[in-house]
């Protein structure tokens, strides 16, 4: 039995009569990049929202490293080591990239009821933040305000912030959303470097990116996970092709 870091069983969420996720079961093995693909409205983002704690599921369980986290808040899940990036860029726009990442370092390192020592002069935190920025290739932009860098760089900042928390797992919700070709390739590069060391659950529309990055693929349609397998097997799976890949994407 492989080492499962995240285990989802029977997760369901309905909004009135609309099914967002229906009896979703899923395991993410430690150290792998597990991608979730599926057409728009398949429930991928709703699934991420339930995993990160933003949405409470109607039923089902989420186990992280052997413990149920389904009743934990967003903040406590994050402190347990489940870091996420947002589909729509969510950083602190008026702060510099360094300040953003330093907040993430702070979030990943104990409480923040420190009322006296200036953060700016905290060498350890600063170095940790700079190394996370370097991991995504933003070390040269550290002093820029988040609002004043390109969309692609804001997406990279999202990843840097997630990494700076020293998480055990990353939930990445369409990290390449709205990116051009070059920016997208850069992001694939960044994620490729994390491969092997970090457990990642990746929701992404860009099929080329998914096929080059993922170790495992799950396919979601109408709130159901219809298949989970290796990339090769999914590619040759007829049900998947009919449901998704054949649907204008192949």
């Amino acid at each position: 039995m492989a080492d499962q870091l995240l285990k989802v069983t029977g997760l369901s969420k309905h909004f009135g009569g609309i099914i967002a996720t229906e009896n979703v079961s899923l395991s993410v093995e430690r150290g792998l990049i597990h991608a979730i693909i599926g057409p728009n409205g398949a429930g991928k983002t709703t699934l991420i929202a339930q995993l990160s704690g933003q949405l409470k599921p109607d039923s089902g369980d989420i186990e992280f490293d052997g413990h149920s986290i389904v009743h934990d808040s967003v903040a406590s899940r994050a402190r347990l080591g489940l870091a996420r990036s947002f589909q729509i860029t969510s950083v602190i726009m008026p702060m510099t990239l360094l300040e953003n990442v330093m907040l993430a370092v702070q979030g990943g390192s104990g409480h923040s009821f420190g009322f006296w020592s200036p953060v700016r002069r905290d060498r350890v935190m600063r170095d940790a933040a700079m190394s996370s920025l370097a991991e995504v290739g933003l070390e040269g932009r550290a002093g820029r305000t988040a609002a004043n860098v390109s969309h692609g760089e804001q997406r990279q900042l999202e990843i840097a912030m997630a990494l700076a928390m020293k998480p055990r797992m990353l939930l990445l919700d369409e990290p390449m959303a709205g990116m051009g070709k070059e920016e997208g390739a850069m992001m694939v590069d960044i994620l490729n470097r994390l491969k092997g060391g970090m457990t990642i659950l990746l929701v992404e529309h860009d099929m080329d990116a998914v096929f080059s990055l993922a170790d495992r693929l799950s396919v979601m349609v109408n709130g159901h996970v219809i298949a989970t397998d290796t990339v090769e097997n999914i590619r040759s799976n007829h049900q998947v092709q009919k449901a998704y890949l054949g649907d204008g994407h192949a």
């Binding site: 808040s73 402190r79 602190i92 008026p94 702070q106 979030g107 009821f113 009322f115 020592s117 953060v119």
Partner: protein
């Protein structure tokens, strides 16, 4: 070695503090006790505005009930004095602890709301307190309560003369400024500021933003209660009017005029507010009209308040020099 502050705004603030430190001597030399009174009142309100700025400016929590803590502080001098307890440390301890408890309870409820609801609920709690004191016949109800003697402190900390009371106020003001400065740059302050801009992201980073906000709310209330304690001593007479909701509104104006989320904004905002009020009312009986128009103009056109205006001059200076 002491070097001059580099920017126009920093120099102005340093100069302002120096002037505030020396003015009492000038007033005494000119034999103008009225101005010392005016300045003392202004600086007490400065402390209150600085504390409000902590939640309103840095934390983005717009409270329309901050005058409650001026009231609590003042009554923590008034009520013990009524029973002949004049010990200053007792007054101070009472003010700090009662305000902390009131803020903890009301904040815990208020902070579950956002925006307009937060404004309304903070106002409602303060009005509740206002009406409680209005109905307390023992402590004068709406007739108010006379405080016959100032809080007693050891000789070196005495606030018995108007001069020594002024320096008490000035000292607390400096401490409040310094504490705010340390706080907003420390880990705690960064979380508060981050949550103002993007709460969702802060939670995703592992911060229980509610808990940090509540702590900030309590700290702010406690600082404000010291302003109230000083006000009780300064005025020698207190009534529930000191915690009316219009006072809370004035505090918001003071912060906005000076510049929200800036260290010195509330200081210059409050002094401007009090001086305008004083001198306009001396010129004409219709001063409220002019005052109102000036406030609207300051808020509409003075982007970032007086601090914003000063720092724009800094940037101009950089371009030319």
């Amino acid at each position: 070695m002491i070097s001059l502050p580099a920017t126009i705004s920093a120099r102005s603030y340093a100069l302002l503090l120096l002037v505030l430190a020396l003015l009492p001597f000038i007033f005494e030399w000119l034999d103008q006790p009225f101005y010392l009174d005016l300045l003392s009142r202004a600086l007490i309100l400065c402390i209150a505005a600085i504390s409000l700025n902590l939640i309103l400016g840095f934390g983005g929590m717009v409270s329309l009930g901050h005058a409650a803590y001026i009231g609590i502080g003042a009554y923590c001098v008034g009520i013990p004095s009524y029973y002949d307890y004049y010990n200053g440390w007792l007054h101070l301890t009472l003010a700090l602890s009662v305000s902390a408890i009131f803020a903890l309870v009301t904040g815990a409820i208020s902070l579950r709301t956002r925006g307009v609801y937060f404004i309304m609920i903070t106002m409602a709690f303060t009005q509740m307190l206002y009406f409680i004191f209005l109905s307390l016949e023992v402590y004068g109800a709406d007739d108010g309560l006379v405080i016959y003697s100032r809080s007693e402190f050891p000789a070196w900390l005495s606030m018995d003369s108007s001069m020594s009371l002024y320096y008490w106020i000035f000292g607390v003001l400096l401490l409040a400024l310094f504490f705010t400065h340390r706080l907003v740059h420390a880990r705690f302050g960064r979380v508060i500021v981050g949550a103002r801009f993007n709460e969702q992201r802060m939670q995703a980073l592992g911060f229980n933003t509610y808990r940090y906000r509540l702590t900030c709310y309590v700290i702010s209330a406690m600082i404000c209660s010291i302003a109230g304690m000083l006000f009780g001593n300064f005025a020698g007479f207190i009534s529930p009017d000191i915690m009316g909701w219009t006072r809370s509104g004035e505090l918001i104006f003071m912060v906005i005029i000076g510049g929200v989320a800036t260290l010195f904004g509330p200081l210059v905002g409050t002094i401007t507010f009090v001086l305008l009020e004083e001198f306009l009312s001396a010129i004409t009986v219709y001063w409220h009209l002019i005052f109102g128009i000036l406030l609207v103009a300051l808020v509409l056109f003075g982007k970032g308040g007086i601090h914003g205006w000063l720092s724009r001059m800094d940037h101009k200076g950089e371009e030319h020099g």
